[in-house]
């Protein structure tokens, strides 16, 4: 049994240590918001936070998450009120929506580390996340808006 903390609750899973965190989340814990896109850390759809860092869960063995803190899209906010989620809604970013959990989880780490990102900062932080619907122009705008929302929240 492997113990890990996902979205602030402890879980024990029966998994081989090399089983990727992605499949533990999806197939064992039924947290399907984290997506399978490539399986080789090329597309970013599986991005989650491991101790606050963005990781590609498709190549992260569950053993690495043992007794660590994992946050998935389901745990980013209780009621879809994270600044990124609000900005994503304001700009109608998603189309098919499949990659968006990963996009938002990558952006969340960017915003925490860099509260005022430029276009270049966004390009750098987000280039690991593929969107086949081409929502990139709106992602750029939404991240900048989310930065503003985040500032307003911290000033409030």
């Amino acid at each position: 049994m492997i113990t890990l903390n996902v979205n602030n609750s402890a879980h024990q899973v029966s998994a081989e240590p090399d089983m990727p965190l992605l499949w533990v989340l999806r197939d064992l814990l039924n947290l399907t918001g984290t997506k399978f896109g490539c399986g080789v850390a090329q597309c970013g759809a599986c991005t989650v936070h491991l101790n606050g860092e963005a990781v590609r869960s498709c190549i992260t063995p569950v053993s690495r998450a043992e007794n660590q803190q994992v946050v998935t899209i389901e745990g980013l906010s209780k009621d879809t009120t994270h600044p990124l989620q609000q900005a994503w809604m304001a700009h109608d970013v998603p189309q098919c929506g499949y990659c968006q959990s990963g996009q938002i989880m990558s952006a969340a780490v960017l915003l925490r580390q860099n509260p005022d990102p430029t276009d270049e900062d966004i390009d750098l932080a987000m280039s690991g996340n593929i969107c086949r619907c081409g929502t990139y122009p709106r992602i750029r705008k939404a991240i900048k808006d989310a930065a503003k929302i985040q500032k307003q929240k911290s000033n409030a």
Partner: protein, 721 residues
């Protein structure tokens, strides 16, 4: 899938039959009951609306949400007439019932960029019918005249009396359908042409949106398949002993295209597949390789193919022309590569089957499953979650991944979810066909074309599709497949060229081909618009002015072209080292022009800006149209710069996004979209945005470098340097 399919099969006549006799049922018995229960064989009443006692306005979509925004646009049409509260709306995909057949094709289908225009009347009428009946029911209950009633925010109001739609839904359901269903005039519209927020966004930003791959049930197992590496090859033998020793692996079964490993979860199934030992009979396809195919098609392109368009005598006119320009274009096979890999969940219980899958043609998939199982169609239930991208890939006429999942469930007697890996998806078939165009154009002394001779070589999509759809195409009737030549045979440029010929060769290959976002226009727009640009340069004329002269008599092309050029500031105030290219193309009844601005950075093209103008007639959801233009431009840049599927010994050589790259955010230009103020015939949005991007980019590269790109993808021409 395409407009051509519609016209070819003359399906439009069905539109009138299907959209008349509209009845909106009000299911007030209990929440959740839907026409799903109706037998497939009956002509079920139209069923686009389900108003529940709790005031929920359930709108049932005859088209699936795959990113293009129908989850919002079709409810806008209903709401425009129904006067419901936008917050009361709940949306669902339809079951595979003929009540939801396309208004212009006799099947349920999402494709061909048709969803908005084809439903413009049906969904508004569904809303208007409901409002009439609700008003009648409420007036009777309140004891007032219908004329004294008005409707707003899901309520019928007369003076100080008021009843909610939910309160009168049951009574309204008893009323006969109104004979006349007048629709509101455009000056009364509150939603159409205005902005609303998408209805699917919340679920898509908090992880709750369910896609096919997210289907999870207790007792459900996961299946991963080792596929034959060559199309139409077979399993010779296999040894499952090692696979069965992998913890979590339950069963291994043979299916038509390979060997399936069934396990408790994906990871075990995948490890089981890695441990399988399979010997393949690769079959005839093993001789196919891209260099050989290219040579073969090149030779074929020298001969005239099946006539697709003809006027005058192109060859005689070419012989007399002041100048001739020749070009050969080569287009690779392309994989759709939607973000969600193919998948399908199947549960067989006795003589019933339930399926969950993201599909663009649910009734065909239902029928395919029924056939494999020997069940009646109505005994196969099919649920359609959100589609994680489709782009044509989830509209396979032979239901490839659904059939595979059903075969696995049948052979294993297990409740399974078939999951394709990205590699399975890349290598699993259904590509935009490989094409070669050979073009020779004669110019008059004024530099304008007088003769155009054009042969295309590429597999027919309809050859395979027509076996299921019936009807023609694909050389079976000695008629050129429109999906191969659309964009050339109906090119506005050709109509003004006195002598022209378009011929098509449709060779047969084992590679399965399919419609890929904008279908034939993916290559025809490139060949035409790059050729026109080359002619303009040969004639020493500005490419924009040259097009303007050639497009006389084509006002919608011209309007889009002029709007894009104006908004882009065509060749005005360009930054040093920046260059522009332009292209215009009509596809799926919409006219799109784009100006691409680039510079050369470290010897490679960098795209800075794409300015786009579209005339799609009335834009029902303008921001949705803008989103589709952005989407199509990113798609078009990916296709032009990077996309290529190649073959060696019959095997697809690409694997995943590392060798089939797609555009990333740092490569994405500024995109500036303008919608022409137009009340012309409505067209599509999801596909027409794609065709102009690649040629406009190539034309910009010519401006920057003097290099014409005749073979895609573009990056091959710069990686070697």
């Amino acid at each position: 899938m395409t407009q051509n399919l519609v016209s070819r099969r003359n399906f439009l006549k069905n539109a009138a039959i299907l959209s008349s006799g509209l009845i909106v049922p009000f299911t007030a018995l209990k929440a959740g009951k839907r026409v799903q229960d109706d037998p497939f064989t009956s002509f079920a009443p139209n069923a686009f609306l389900n108003i529940k006692p709790d005031n929920t306005i359930e709108i049932i979509l005859a088209h699936v949400e795959m990113g293009q925004g129908v989850w919002t646009t079709l409810p806008m049409l209903v709401a425009e007439e129904l006067d419901c509260d936008w917050k009361d709306i709940a949306v669902a995909h339809c079951p595979p019932n003929p009540a939801y057949n396309h208004t212009a094709m006799p099947l349920i289908i999402t494709g061909g960029s048709t969803s908005t225009w084809s439903e413009f009347e049906r969904y508004r009428k569904a809303g208007a019918t409901a409002r009439i009946l609700l008003t009648q029911a409420a007036a009777a209950k309140m004891g007032v005249s219908v004329a004294s009633c008005k409707t707003e925010n899901s309520c019928v109001i007369s003076g100080d009396k008021k009843l909610s739609y939910g309160e009168v839904a049951a009574a309204a359901a008893q009323l006969p359908a109104p004979k006349e269903v007048p629709l509101r005039a455009p000056n009364q519209w509150k939603y159409i042409g205005k902005g609303v927020k998408r209805l699917d966004t919340t679920a898509k930003v908090n992880g709750s949106a369910k896609f096919g791959l997210d289907v999870q049930y207790p007792g459900m197992l996961t299946a991963v398949v080792a596929h034959v590496p060559v199309f139409e090859g077979k399993v010779k033998s296999f040894d499952a002993s090692k696979a069965l020793k992998v913890p979590g692996v339950r069963k291994v079964v043979q299916v038509p295209r390979g060997v399936a490993v069934i396990a408790d979860h994906f990871w075990a199934a995948k490890k089981g597949r890695d441990a399988l030992v399979v010997t393949w009979d690769r079959g005839m396809g093993a001789s196919l390789s891209t260099p050989d195919q290219t040579q073969r098609y090149r030779q074929q392109a020298l001969k005239d193919g099946l006539q697709a368009a003809k006027k005058g005598d192109a060859k005689a006119s070419l012989a007399k022309a002041a100048q001739t320009v020749e070009a050969e274009f080569v287009f690779p096979y392309l994989a759709h590569a939607p973000m969600e890999p193919m998948n399908c969940t199947v549960r067989i219980t006795g003589n019933k089957c339930e399926i969950w899958t993201g599909t663009q043609m649910p009734a065909l998939d239902q029928a395919a499953a029924a056939k494999i199982l020997g069940f009646k169609r109505e005994d196969v239930t099919l649920n359609t979650p959100f589609l994680g991208g489709a782009f044509g890939r989830r509209a396979t006429p032979d239901s490839d991944f659904v059939s595979e999942a059903v075969e696995i469930a049948k052979a294993s007697k297990e409740f399974i979810k078939l999951v394709w890996t990205r590699e399975d998806d890349m290598k699993g078939g259904y590509y935009r066909p490989f094409f070669i165009h050979k073009i020779k154009v004669g110019l008059g002394s004024d530099g304008m074309p007088v003769a155009w001779h054009h042969n295309l070589v590429g597999q027919s999509i309809m050859e395979r599709a027509s076996k299921i759809f019936g009807g023609g195409g694909g050389g079976q009737e000695k008629k050129a497949d429109d999906t191969s030549v659309e964009g050339v045979n109906n090119s506005p440029y050709l109509t003004n060229i006195p002598d022209h010929f378009v011929g098509l060769h449709s060779p047969k290959e084992v590679m399965p081909v399919l419609w890929y976002r904008s279908v034939g226009n993916t290559h025809t727009a490139y060949a035409m618009e790059v050729m026109i640009d080359a002619l303009a340069h040969t004639a020493k004329q500005d490419p924009l002015e040259y097009r303007r002269k050639l497009l006389k008599g084509h006002p919608r092309h011209l309007a889009a072209l002029n709007l894009a050029a104006e908004k882009a500031g065509w060749k005005k105030n360009l930054a040093p080292g920046h260059f522009q290219g332009i292209a215009v193309h009509e596809a799926f009844k919409s006219y799109v022009a784009q100006v691409v601005e680039i510079s050369m950075v470290e010897g490679k093209p960098k795209v800075h800006k794409v300015t786009c103008a579209i005339d799609c007639g009335l834009a029902v959801n303008p921001d949705g149209v803008v989103a589709q233009m952005e989407s199509g431009i990113v798609w078009g840049l990916t296709m032009a710069l990077y996309s290529e599927v190649t073959l060696a010994k019959g095997e697809v050589q690409q694997n995943n996004f590392y060798d089939y790259p797609v555009l990333r955010i740092h490569e994405t230009p500024v995109i500036d979209v303008h919608i022409a103020d137009s009340r012309e015939e409505m067209g599509g949005a999801g596909e027409p945005c794609v065709p102009p991007t690649a040629p406009a980019l190539a034309n910009a590269i010519f401006e920057a470098t003097g290099k014409r790109i005749y073979q895609l993808p573009i990056m091959h021409h710069f990686n070697k340097a």
